[in-house]
Structure formats: structure tokens, C-alpha cells
């Protein structure tokens, strides 16, 4: 597939010589494996952050619908802070402050997963809260009238219905996470983008490796988008 891409891009550059782009993929060919290895890092990073962010977001959502005011205020303040700060700032903060404050030499990957989970939790909690509030109040009353306690009621009755309704929104959140994951390249995690930059710097060819990772990101985002559309279609069908 890559060779196909290579030849078609060569042909592309042949026919558009006007643009004076002499794309030469042969020089970075030996490093292709290294770049592609970044896919694993990027995906690991995205899925870890998405899953941790989902659980944290669920807890925050429960805080925000809680009648216990301190929990409510914590949830609201937390969301406000994370939504109101640029991700790159929180990311750098965690990466540089952790060793200074705790003495623990945190890796870029770890700092990234922590920051992204905490940040994604703030966004996802809003989605989940809306999902919970959209579940008919009668469901809660039916559960209460049967003597079902808060925790099983939430886990078995309310959340499954809430999450079914917001599944497409959750997939969209993971798409945003996947794209934002490129930020970890700034703190040394060897994700796709970072690897492309490393190879570029070594070989003095910047355009080609970046073009390759751009295509890879696009394909990954498209796969997730199609999955989201398919989910939405299935959910609509099941009513």
C-alpha cells in the first residue's frame, strides 16, 4: 500500500512539476517502520485517555447531578477550569511540574495520558450529564418504587440508557482526542507526529514524512467517523 502511495505520489509530482515539488519518498523509506510504529503509540495513547476520561467523566457527571452541594460545586469548578485552560498549557504543567513537585520523573506519555484523561473527563462529564438528565424521570421512580438503591439504579438502569443515547457523542470525543494527541509530541512522547519530525530532522526531508502521517491521521479519523455513523444508524434503528 505504501509503495502504491509512493508511486502514485511520484506520478503526482511528475505531472505537477510546475509546483516544483520533488517529492522523494525513497530517502525516508528505511525509517518508514519507525514512523509507522507511532501509530501504536498514538492509538494506545488515545484509547487509554478515552477510557480513563470516560470513567472519570462518569464520576464527575454523577457529582454534577448530586444534591450534595460540595460534590456539585467541585464538579462544576473542575469542568470550568479544564475547559477554560488550553490543553497545551495543562499538558506542559503536568509534565514539568510533576518532577519538580514530587521528584518523580514522569514520561511524556504518562503526563499525556494523565492530562488528557483529566481534560477529556471534563468534556465527557457534560455529555454524560446531559445523557442522564435525558433519561425519563419515570425510570428512576420505577427503580425507587422497587426499593432499588442509588448505585445499582445508576449502573443497571440509568447509565445504560444514558450512554446508549450519547454513544455517537462519545465517539466524536475520541476523534477529538485522537487529533489532540499530537500535542504530546511537544513533550517528547514518540507518537506519530513526533516520529515524523524526528525522521525529517535526521534526513533533512520534512515534507514527505509529514505528508505520510497526515494521511494516516486522516484515515484513522475517517474510520472512527464511519464507526460513529454506523453506531448512530444502528441505534436509530433499534429505537
Amino acid at each position: 500500500m505504501i509503495t502504491l502511495l509512493n508511486t502514485s505520489l511520484d506520478r503526482f509530482s511528475d505531472t505537477f512539476l510546475l509546483a516544483q515539488m520533488n517529492l522523494d519518498f525513497s530517502r525516508i523509506m528505511p525509517s518508514l517502520g519507525f514512523i509507522l510504529g507511532g501509530i501504536v503509540v498514538t492509538l494506545q495513547f488515545t484509547f487509554l485517555s478515552a477510557i480513563l476520561g470516560f470513567f472519570w467523566g462518569t464520576i464527575l457527571a454523577l457529582f454534577k447531578i448530586s444534591k450534595f452541594k460540595p460534590l456539585y460545586w467541585f464538579g462544576m469548578a473542575y469542568t470550568s477550569i479544564f475547559r477554560g485552560t488550553p490543553l497545551l498549557v495543562t499538558l506542559s504543567l503536568f509534565y514539568f511540574a510533576t518532577p519538580q513537585l514530587t521528584g518523580y520523573d514522569i514520561s511524556g506519555f504518562q503526563a499525556g495520558v494523565i492530562t488528557f484523561s483529566l481534560n477529556s473527563g471534563a468534556y465527557v462529564s457534560e455529555v454524560i450529564r446531559a445523557g442522564i438528565l435525558a433519561v425519563d424521570r419515570g425510570q428512576q421512580e420505577a427503580a425507587l418504587s422497587l426499593g432499588v438503591r442509588y448505585k445499582p439504579m445508576m449502573l443497571d438502569i440509568i447509565l445504560p440508557q444514558a450512554i446508549k443515547n450519547i454513544l455517537p457523542a462519545l465517539v466524536n470525543e475520541s476523534i477529538a482526542l485522537l487529533k489532540d494527541s499530537t500535542l504530546v509530541s511537544t513533550i517528547g512522547a514518540q507518537d506519530l507526529l513526533r516520529r515524523a519530525q524526528i525522521v525529517g530532522a535526521e534526513k533533512y526531508v520534512y515534507f514527505e514524512p509529514l505528508l505520510i502521517v497526515a494521511v494516516i491521521y486522516y484515515v484513522m479519523v475517517m474510520v472512527l467517523t464511519l464507526a460513529a455513523n454506523y453506531l448512530e444508524f444502528q441505534l436509530r434503528k433499534s429505537g
Binding site: 419515570g138 421512580e141 420505577a142 422497587l146 426499593g147 432499588v148 445499582p152 438502569i157 445504560p160 446508549k164
Partner: protein
Amino acid sequence: MMQPQEQATPPAIQVDRLYKSFGSLKVLREITTEIYKGEVVAVIGPSGCGKSTFLRCLNLLEMPTSGKIYINGEEITNPNTDAMRIRQNVGMVFQHFHLFPHMTVLNNIAYAPMKVKKVAKEEAREQARDLLGKVGLGEKADTYPSRLSGGQKQRVAIARALAMNPDVMLFDEPTSALDPEMVKEVLEVMKAVSDTGMTMAVVTHEMGFAREVADRIFFLDGGKIAEDAPPSEFFTAPKSDRAKQFLEKML
């Protein structure tokens, strides 16, 4: 109605000067009554007079503003009482069914006994099947609620409440959301439940059912039980003008 030896056992439901307000809106103003074991009480009255509120106070879905409620002699309005434990004993059937849409019919019924009473899975499912048979839906066990008609949904909801083996069953307009042709099947199931000796409080607009099945009629008006009489008396000789007007509209 009340045999002498029953006086020793406490009423199934006892309500003592119950008040309930929503903000400045006083919905219930001093309700005092007793409902005995095995009695069926039909609660009727004009729209918005507080029938649902009254019923919902009986299982603490609404917290009374003041007054006391006893179920089988235990005060449930005591702040130290565990509302969840009380509710296990007081089944409720809602106008809009509120079945759990993501569970099969069988799981709808078996869920609470398993989760709340820790009944073993097989036993709970066996009992659920049994109850489904009793409400005439034995073949619908593995269906999802969205596939059922309104009448079938309500019968499942009744089975779901019965699965907890409650001492008291509350029905809040159980047939009001149904197409006319489905009302009968639900009323028949309710009559069968009353025949088992269940204590029931039923908010209803079905005067035929109230007349036939209820032992007593509560006519709610002005936040009070304005009339409390056997159906034979209430329907033929209502005491108040309000009740007369109400009956004229209903019949």
C-alpha cells in the same frame, strides 16, 4: 368489613394528619385515614386535587411536609426509617408503565428481586415466568418492552411490582394512558390481584372498576378526603355537592 380480631393487628396503611405542600402550593391538607389488610380503596377526584401526591407519599416518592404514615404499624415518616426497605414492601404501578426499555420482559420482573432481595437468579426467573403466566403474557418473556402494546406493558409492570411480594400495591391511573380496547385486560389483572387479598390503593377514573372492585371510595377534594364511603353509598348518595358534580361529569 373489619372483623373484631383484626383490630389487634395494625392497619396496612395508617395516615395521620398528612400535609404536603410544593412551595406555597398546599396540595394535601390534613389527611387522616386507615386502610386495612386486604382492602381495595379507589381514590377519585378532580384533576389536580392531589391524588397522585397522596399515593406517592405512601411510598415516600414524595416526602410529606408533615404528618405520619404507618405501613403495617411501622412509621415510615420517621427520619431514621430506611425508605428503600419500606418501598420493597409497597409496590407501585404508574400511568406510563416505566418499564426498563433495555431489559427483556423477564428481566424487568426478575431484576429487583435479584438486586434488592438477593434472590438467586434461577429462582427469580422462575418466579418471573410464573407471574408472567398469571398476567397472561407467558410467551412474551424474552421480548423487549418496545414490542408490547400498552395493555401488555401495564400487565408486565404489575407483574414487576408483584415480584417483590409487596404487602400493599399502589396504582396511579393504571389505565389512563391506554387505548380503550386495552383497559379491560388491565382491570381484569388488577381484579385478580385484589382477589388474592392484596391491600390496594387505586387512583382511577374507571368508575365501573371502582364500583365493582373497591371496598371503599376516597373522594379527594380541597386537599382532604372529602368523602370516604363504600361504593354502594358513594355512587348512589354522595354527600357533598362537589362529589355530585364530579359524578355527573364522570358517569
